[in-house]
Amino acid sequence: MTKGRYGIHGGQYLPETLMNAVLELEQAYEKYKNDPTFLEELQALYSDYANRPSMLYYAEKMTKDLGGAKIYLKREDLNHTGSHKINNVLGQVLLAKKMGKKRVIAETGAGQHGVATATVAALMDMECVVYMGKEDTERQALNVFRMELLGAKVVPVETGTKTLKDAVNEAMRVWTSRIDDTFYVLGSVMGPHPYPEMVRDFQRVIGKEVKKQMLAKEGRLPDVVMACVGGGSNAMGLFYDFIEDKEVRLIGVEAAGRGVDTEETAATISRGSLGIFHGMKSYFLQDNYGQIAPVYSISAGLDYPGIGPEHAYLHDSGRAEYVPATDDESVAAFSYLSKTEGIIPAIESAHAVAYAMKLAPTMDKDKIIVINLSGRGDKDVAAIARYMGVDLHE
């Protein structure tokens, strides 16, 4: 087996034109990942710029209302730029800077990764171009303008399903035409090695903090940690430091869209099969001829036909569980958390909340669930209003 494997998953399936770019990245990452100066600089950015550590909040009203396990929310929504995406982007753009790159490109679905990349590019004086599916630029118009305010150029991608997977295709195509000065800031634990490992390492801070905060608050580890999964970066960041703690259940919540039994779904583990795409071997939603399926979810950030290779491995080994949540359940959870705790979650994160609402009542009161609230919901307010049939006169 080749490099970057998680069981049978992962690898480096890329056009030859990109191989040296990826090998250069791999070497640079190997060099800096244990470099004390690099890690110090990153730590300073995390705390002073991104507002880390993010709080671990006891959702007392939600806990009482659901009447079961104690629920804690990991408040990644309170990070600068409003989601966990900043953790990874600070790491990658700092690395790009060390490598002498002048320009960063990124794909984005909901726009959170694009906003984070545009933000850090502004901070570090890098040119920034973000590729975003045409449909997503419409679903998330506010984030497009936000990226432009930050000085980035946003390119709407008109090919294929005009969503996240097409944005990745286009970013890869553009990268092949300009590899010398350009760094591709990939937003999730997916793609060719070293991205799944590197992005996970930059997101590990989530799980490390949860562990420390939980020990301080409760004097023990949680029984369940859970997060939404598209490509899977916030979930991987949360899970990683708990993998060896076998008593902690790891639950990833996928976007079921209109239901796992419909064609309008993005639930890769529930409905997908083994394949090789976007640089990695993993599970994908596809047909019998290996054509990648046009996936659907209300959440632009989870609207992706694959899943990161390490998640595929955690699924194979049985260490993590993956469950679906539908659009309806997630929109209900979006409203519920807003009204119950005064916290408007990202529609992506609302998928995790939706499953917690089912799970918590079935657990004893002395059990503890941690939900990763990966992002805030301001960006979704208009889309949720449309979903509920409310006319906002935008």
């Binding site: 080749t2 030859e16 195509r173 300009r178 394949g275 090789i276 795409f277 994908f284 001829y289």
Partner: protein, 257 residues
């Protein structure tokens, strides 16, 4: 001697053409292959359409979309080729992505290639490091796995060339497939490096559209590969594309000689 080796022996400067299967229809693809053979194309590369062709520019992306929308599948392509083989022995090389092969089933896919007489495969998203995914099946069924070399390959050239099968596909430029007005890469220097490690023929592709470009590229190597320029003609003429493609291919074949 394999049909690919013989093609380069018979055509020291080879014109290699590409069409996407099922664009505008599989019946037309068969007619196009016959016309390309008649025009003197030494090898015909056939694209198996894929939903997400990341190495392709806009022209071939659109051809993939048209072919899939028209219901083209891997099985239907094999059927068309089996039919074609009743009248034509032109060397055929598939160009597709790894997922359609992997999901079809690698053993079944390459067995079918052998059965209908597909001589090679080009899989742009399987680099040297991952070729273990396919190479044993290729050997088992006598199908050449064509390697790509790019200007960015640099110190990888020797490693790739040494184990090359069939011919070497030299990618002329950075970026994706598509017509370019200028090719600025020092093709001669790369070909020289390849020759030091391999005696396999080298054909240059990506961006070639004019007879002049084809002539220059073939002069520096063993042949020129032309895809997007042909697909553009197919896009323009639709069902009436066979005549114009034949005329174009004839001119290109003459130019490379």
């Amino acid at each position: 001697m394999s049909k690919i080796a013989k093609a380069f022996q018979d055509n020291p400067k080879a014109f290699i053409s590409f069409v996407t299967a099922g664009d505008p229809s599989l019946a037309k693809t068969k007619e196009l292959i016959l016309a390309l053979e008649k025009a003197g194309s030494a090898i015909v590369e056939i694209g198996i359409p894929f939903s997400d062709p990341v190495a392709e520019g806009e022209v071939i992306q659109r051809a993939n979309i048209r072919a899939l929308a028209g219901g083209c599948t891997t099985d239907k392509i094999f059927d068309m080729l089996a039919d074609l083989r009743k009248t034509s022995q032109v060397p055929i090389v598939f160009l597709t992505y790894v997922n359609p092969i992997f999901t079809y089933g690698r053993d079944k896919f390459f067995a079918k290639c052998q059965e209908v007489g597909v001589d090679g495969v080009i899989v742009p998203d399987v680099p040297f490091e991952e070729k273990g995914e396919l190479v044993d099946y290729c050997r088992k069924y006598g199908v050449d796995l064509i390697s790509l070399i790019a200007q960015t390959s640099d110190q990888r050239i020797q490693m790739i060339a040494k184990e090359a099968m069939g011919y070497i596909y030299l990618v002329s430029s950075l970026g994706v497939t598509g017509v370019r007005s200028n090719i600025t890469t020092d093709i001669g220097a790369i070909v020289k490096k390849i020759r030091e490690a391999s005696d396999k023929p080298v054909a240059v592709g990506f961006g070639i559209s004019t007879p002049q470009q084809a002539k220059e590229m073939a002069a520096l190597s063993d042949g020129a590969i032309v895809g997007s320029a042909i697909v553009k003609i197919i896009e323009k003429y639709g069902d009436d594309c066979v005549g114009p493609v034949y005329e174009y291919a004839k001119e290109m074949t003459e130019a490379v000689k």
